[in-house]
Amino acid sequence: MNKQSITLTVNGRNVEFEAEPRKLLSDALRENCGLTGTHVGCEHGVCGACTVLVDGRPVRSCLTYAVQMEGHEITTIESVGEHGALAPLQQALHEAHGLQCGFCTPGIVMTFQAFLADHPDPSEEEIRDVLSGNLCRCTGYQNIVTAIQLAARRMREGAGHVAT
């Protein structure tokens, strides 16, 4: 009922589809844009798995309706890194064992893509404060904190693949 045409700008590309106003951005990304890297966990803003960037800032895509996002730039995990050349955050999470099942990882990567851009040299306390918005049921978080510190250091040094 009441579907309307919606055009989203996702990772620099325009995607047009028909959906109701109640279509969540998280579902639109997965079902209408074919971008299934954005994961859907709790659907009420607690778990952080669905975090994407809107105009460069992290946003819960499950608390946003796709129709609201017309005219804004959406960035998802699919734009981060590429096959054979992971982004610094991804590489660090891999090396420091910052993930197991990987369900929460896209939300964590998108959150810290934005946070580290604004805060290139965060304290451990600041990292933990931000990470508190992303639930992980596998790792116990310690290795994620280590990975973010490692990635931040490499990004400050301007190289994604420096040996540790």
């Binding site: 106003p21 109640r22 952080g48 309706y65 609201q68 959150t111 946070f115 931000v130």
Partner: protein, 289 residues
Amino acid sequence: MKPAAFSYLRPTSIEEALDQLAAGTGAGAKVIAGGQSLGPMMNMRLATPAQLIDLNDLTELAYVREAGDWIEIGALTRHYQLAESPVLRRHCPLLAQAAQTIGHYAIRQRGTIGGSLAHADPAAQLALVAVTLDARLKLVRPGATRSVQAGDFFASAMTTALQPDEVILSVQFPKAAPREAASFNMFNRRHGDYAIVAAATTVAVEGAIVQRVRLGLGGVAPMPRNLDELALPFLGQVPGEQWIKRLAAAAREAIAPEDNPRISALYRQELAERLVARALSQAISLLHG
């Protein structure tokens, strides 16, 4: 966990938004700003508005500016903007401190001060700071604006003085005095959750003598409590350890929190006493610093 169907409007001016709200109030229209409270409620179908009027394009309502002895904040100002504002850090540090503790990083990017006050959760930080500082809310409806004190705005849990066709336009907070310090303290079980109890205070001195104390508690009643009157017998004194202890004990005695099986009234009273003591002590040490 999907919201019920609704129709969607995206006004480009406040006048347009008010006309749309006036036309839609009888038919279940609701305004949405950051959506960090309304979104979850709609996903869980605790709220099922027939129409959403999206205020996010009204970017002229996102500002923090000085207005004489007051700081005026537009309703669409996001929590992170409150926390990072140099004007607030200087002139209203209690508000900046409290905003930094709201939810999580991503939530603070989106949630707005107008939305939080209109939502009126009894444990919310911004409602507590508004009541503690006697903030003034400017409300607007087609052809009329009015100003309401925060103490009169909150009627009960999730209930405010906002009429169905009214929207919050801005909120004014008093500037801190030259020798005044603030502290916001809250306790929750998990980082980012709502507070079980939260305490907000400002202490102003001349020399070593206390001139004014503002004190507010959240999470101990259906809406935030302003406890300034409790502090009146404590003015004109040098605030030492005993002073803090006695005022914190008075705050504990002044509240009668709900007793429920999950969190007992006694626990909230003990938390209130500890948090008030900690907040007062932090504010006083800032004055010495």
